[in-house]
């Protein structure tokens, strides 16, 4: 995706207009009575129902253990509901064969609370990882996109640096860049602003708004929903695995 222009960043404070919904389009996310959790443990989510249209943003908040991360795992088809139905991009994830689930996952960007990066790679290659899943080499256009988004997030000078040399916030920004370069149809972010400076925060918020404007459904999990007040987002609160009123 193309990041917002530098001129956009001069507007402070960040106030972002909502994406225009496309009428008649089925919801990108449709959870109905979902109960799910880690193997051998009590359910982390209980009877959760949530619908989110393409281009919409939801900020899911709650305290530790509320089920926010479990919700993201369900939405990225890594955790299969034990009850209820979870449809992502029109597919019921419980009915998909493993290979199809993985193919679906390639359309979903995911920013983990603790990003996983291949230590042996440099920043550019780590950010380009989703594009390298299917392509032996990046096209010039893809390489330019990766370079552009790294530059936007302030990592341009670190493109050739080994991932293991990056700081915690730089690793998070690399993971954020990685989630955006594949232009996902659903973007899931677990505390994406944690540990970032003010400038990086505003840039990430603009990226989140931009991808929603491009009709991706965005779900942000956080304990501090106020940090996302600038986004035109629906607030959803989880409490001990259940949706709270």
């Amino acid at each position: 995706m193309t990041p917002p222009t530098a001129a956009d960043d001069e507007d402070q404070p960040v106030v972002i207009a909502p994406a225009a919904p496309e009428p008649g389009r089925p919801p990108a996310i449709d959870l109905a009575g979902v109960t799910a959790g880690w193997r051998g443990r009590a359910p982390a989510l209980v009877d959760v129902s949530l619908t989110l249209a393409a281009g919409a943003t939801a900020v899911v908040h709650g305290g530790p253990g509320a089920g926010k991360t479990a919700l993201l795992h369900v939405l990225r088809a890594a955790m299969i509901p034990t009850a209820g139905r979870a449809a992502v991009l029109g597919s019921d994830i419980a009915s998909l064969a493993p290979a199809v689930r993985r193919a679906l996952r390639r359309r979903i960007g995911y920013i983990a609370a603790t990003p996983l990066l291949a230590a042996a790679e440099n920043t550019f290659m780590a950010a380009a990882a989703p594009l390298r899943l299917t392509e032996r080499t990046l096209s010039p256009r893809q390489a330019a996109d990766v370079t552009e988004i790294l530059g936007y997030l302030g990592l341009g000078a670190l493109a050739a640096a080994p991932v293991e040399d990056l700081s915690g916030s730089q690793r998070r920004l690399t993971a954020i860049a990685r989630a955006f370069v594949a232009q996902p149809d659903v973007l899931l972010a677990d505390e994406p602003l944690a540990g970032l400076g003010p400038d990086a925060m505003s840039r990430v918020l603009r990226l989140l708004a931009e991808i929603a404007r491009q009709q991706a459904a965005v779900v942000i999990a956080t304990q501090t929903p106020d940090m996302y007040a600038a986004l035109p987002a629906r607030k959803v609160r989880l409490d001990r695995g259940r949706l709270a009123p």
Binding site: R41, A78, P98, R102, L116, A118, P130
Partner: protein
């Protein structure tokens, strides 16, 4: 994402040691089997004739001459007391004085089992007017050769399994790439192939190193013997089977490592792919 590299001095050392041990096990099994076959061949070709005719001295000499004239018999000679003492001492009986031995009516002979069978030899002796028994050495080559090869193969398999286990653990410990692949929706087969390929390459190279060390070590030992063995003699003594074992050792190590690396990567991938 399609690239993964094993590294580390510890893994390299473990891989090389296990590859070398597997190679030595296979070579030891083959050596035992080769010796068993050689001993069996010697036993099959050796024959002792006990002369029963009453006029002992003349009959023994006549029998020996008749045997030497029999096709397929390469050697035949009466067993003198000195020769008998030598054989008894070689069998572990301690020093034997030939003068203490009684007169023997025995002939030792060697034959080609393909050309001279017992019936032909008995017929030749009868034609010479000699009555005699043929005493063949018990030859049971199959069990020794079988167990030699089986032991070597079992050792090689166990060491191959140990090598696979080392790479399985290494892949699990370095499973970040596999887990990341699962997170990003990579094809499971592609991730496993990346780990397997890297494991195979790593173990193949260390296997070559191990084979070179084993061969150089063996050559060093043989050349350091009190009567050194020349390199030409060493080369001539290497059997085709032994050469094949040395050449195949790196490939065997590569296959075992690839299998272990793939299974370790599969565990890491599956753990990240399906959380609940």
């Amino acid at each position: 994402m399609k690239r993964f590299r094993f590294s580390g001095a510890g893994l390299m050392l473990a891989s090389a040691l296990l590859a070398a041990a597997a190679l030595l096990s296979a070579l030891a099994g083959e050596t035992v089997a080769a010796h068993a076959h050689a001993a069996a061949d010697r036993a099959a070709s050796s024959l002792t004739v006990r002369v029963l005719s009453p006029d002992a001295d003349a009959a023994v000499e006549t029998a020996a001459e008749a045997l030497r004239a029999t096709p397929g018999v390469a050697f035949a000679a009466p067993i003198t007391p000195a020769r008998a003492a030598q054989l008894l001492e070689a069998a572990g009986g301690g020093p034997v004085d030939p003068a203490d031995l009684p007169p023997l009516r025995l002939i030792e002979a060697s034959r080609d089992p393909a050309e001279a069978d017992d019936a032909a030899i008995t017929a030749a002796l009868a034609a010479a007017g000699v009555r005699a028994d043929l005493i063949a050495a018990p030859a049971e080559p199959a069990p020794a050769a079988f167990w030699g090869r089986a032991g070597g193969l079992l050792g090689t398999l166990i060491l191959g399994a140990a090598l696979a286990l080392v790479f399985h653990r290494a892949a699990r410990a370095d499973g970040q790439t596999a887990a990341l692949g699962a997170d990003l929706g990579a094809a499971r087969g592609a991730i496993l192939a990346a780990y397997g390929r890297s494991g195979a390459e790593f173990a193949f190279l260390t296997g070559i190193g191990a084979a070179l060390v084993v061969v150089a070590g063996a050559a060093g030992v043989l050349s350091a013997l009190p009567v050194p063995v020349s390199s030409a003699v060493m080369a001539a003594r290497i059997s085709p089977m032994e050469a094949a074992i040395v050449l195949l050792a790196p490939l065997y190590a590569a296959a075992a490592a690839a299998w272990g690396a793939r299974s370790g990567a599969a565990a890491a991938f599956d753990a990240a792919d399906r959380l609940g």
